[in-house]
Point group: C2
Amino acid sequence: MPQMSSAHRPQTTTHVEANGRTYALPRRPTVVVCLDGFDPEYLERGIADGVLPTIAALRTKGYVGSALASIPTTTNTNNTSIVTGVPPAVHGINGNYYLDAETGEEIMVTDARRLRCGTILGAVSKAGVQTAVVTAKDKLLKVLAYEMDGIAFSSEQPNTADLSAVGASGGEELVGRARPDQYSADLSLFALDAGLKLLASLKPGLMYLSTSDYVQHKYAPGDAEANAFHAEVDKRIARMIELGATVALTADHGMADKAAADGQPNVVYVEDALTAKFGAGSVRVICPIADPFVRHHGALGGFVRVHLLKPGDIAAMMTYARSLPGVELVLDKATVCERFQLPPDREGDFAIFTDRATVIGARREDHDLSALGGHRLRSHGGIGEQRVPLILSRPLTPEYREWAETGVVRNLDVFDFALNGVS
Amino acid sequence: MPQMSSAHRPQTTTHVEANGRTYALPRRPTVVVCLDGFDPEYLERGIADGVLPTIAALRTKGYVGSALASIPTTTNTNNTSIVTGVPPAVHGINGNYYLDAETGEEIMVTDARRLRCGTILGAVSKAGVQTAVVTAKDKLLKVLAYEMDGIAFSSEQPNTADLSAVGASGGEELVGRARPDQYSADLSLFALDAGLKLLASLKPGLMYLSTSDYVQHKYAPGDAEANAFHAEVDKRIARMIELGATVALTADHGMADKAAADGQPNVVYVEDALTAKFGAGSVRVICPIADPFVRHHGALGGFVRVHLLKPGDIAAMMTYARSLPGVELVLDKATVCERFQLPPDREGDFAIFTDRATVIGARREDHDLSALGGHRLRSHGGIGEQRVPLILSRPLTPEYREWAETGVVRNLDVFDFALNGVS
């Protein structure tokens, strides 16, 4: 079992604290993988189709179960919950975009200025443990590597980090291939391969690898391309285990089919609907899943927040929204924040969730579905995509097994399981 | 500190297991109190009004926080979750009534035949610990005292148990007053007083006391009668602590105002609505809160299950139900069971939740609101009444404090906290 790097680690520290939670410093290299969009249906279908031999074996050699994601079930929100170990009410990141209350502008979250607390990676790195983060998408990196001493880069911009410690001039040299196209399965595999290279050379005590859900947005469980991608992921998990790492695998959110039998997307354009009923300039609808760098969902997901632009009848708007086909739940700000642990100063006047078969957007013109190119729309963001896998490569301690089998486990508990919960 | 009774306790057993969860045998007399209908608003208002001095002091001397109840937020469901430590999907009790699939009859749950697992009290009693249960209402007793060796009786039928061990011929003699009227605050205080008498004489290692929500259905937080009742409860908690017990206090569910500004109840008669739209004989609506022995809510709560009586368009019915004012959430059987851990073979074809300000019933004629007598309707059953207090009389261990402050705690975790989580 390779010994992990222990540069300047104080001998007396065995645990660190982050956001009120305690984490044991890793005794062996530990890798936490966030497999973006890894709905339990891909896990179940992959095992059934025989393309996930490593993960399938962990059902007896380790632990394979499920957990709940933060609401909204979007990438930024959940990656942040995972690396901080707390819900959005504490960490402050509740989507890819937010409406600036002063300017009225929609601002994209691209750095850590909206983050309200520290991260587990940051705390562990400051205790002297060699830490690393590799993501597929660059936009996440500044939050995930916030105040972290260590190596951090993305597949999109692989040559930005100082990799002299492993004798490479950049990520492309480390991995041994060119930066992949941002719209590709390989963007994710490149991040995992970079992690493998770091694991083999630098042996970081704690590493976080986060992929992109390009494949899951396009292909359904059981599709050849989905099976092929997850098989490639499974091989890399195997390799991490071979290299002596403890591996924990979860997802930021699930993924679901959002199209009707004829292939047409099931979409509620709720800003159009509210404008038609309550007048122009009544509301602004924010889609937390929106991302100008993402082609594959047209910014359509299972959750939106509605901001009133001028005084209006919130209750009437909520009642009306509730009546629209595909809408599952409409809650006012206080209720949605209390129920789902969201930050009240960052939520809209009310929130709308659609069911697992439907997506919701603002105005028809805001959403470009042409990029779907004939694929059935697949997306996430609502309560229907809250369930995600939670997988550990080693057996759980009796205490953590009891928690996993009888308690409530969230994806944001994955570092707790990985660092405190395995034997 | 009085030593608790240790009749025939095997010296080698320090823990028992119940439904996959481990519980330390109590080292001192432990009392778990389920204060029926104790919404956090009564706790907050009571502390603010100075009528809960004992509980208020526990904010520093012990622990005062909150937890989530099982859905539906009804008495039978939650008392069972609390004494088994697991959700309805495991224990099988999802309401006061169920629709017998074979006969089509509505059957009231009055004994343990629908219970699908053992209880914590049963397991602890069989390890040789002196155990006791006292409830206000008799209907609960058979489930709560299922397979439990020990003392069990109700305020409604106090003389049924063998109390020779404490030198009393029955509960009335033990407590020193006559059995109270079933519609009274004293029905609940009688149960707590019986517990105090048992604590002082028999010193049971583990005791469960469960009250009735007569007061909370009638009086709002801050009403004189509500403050008076909770002040009386607070005095009894103080006395239990004086007697050396570890006390844990939670509730089966919260309680909310369900009336409009003019005092008229906000009610959705959904069987009437569905019948009008889809035809007579389409559906049967079951109200899990219904109880022929309860006058104070007319069987109206925040949740119903709808059973189709003949093949029909479930999706259309659900969409229509969703459009009714006051309806918050409508989910099909698979989704409601997955999301709220309910037993699929015992749920309806779909479930309807109303918001915190509204109740839902079957047909207008099924619900007698005349017994309200001018009081504003107060009830529970939905997601709005899911938050309940969780209070311990002793400080939590660091591990349990971390769970309480950063994890998800449910009222069904109360025995875990009481037996495993205090120093």
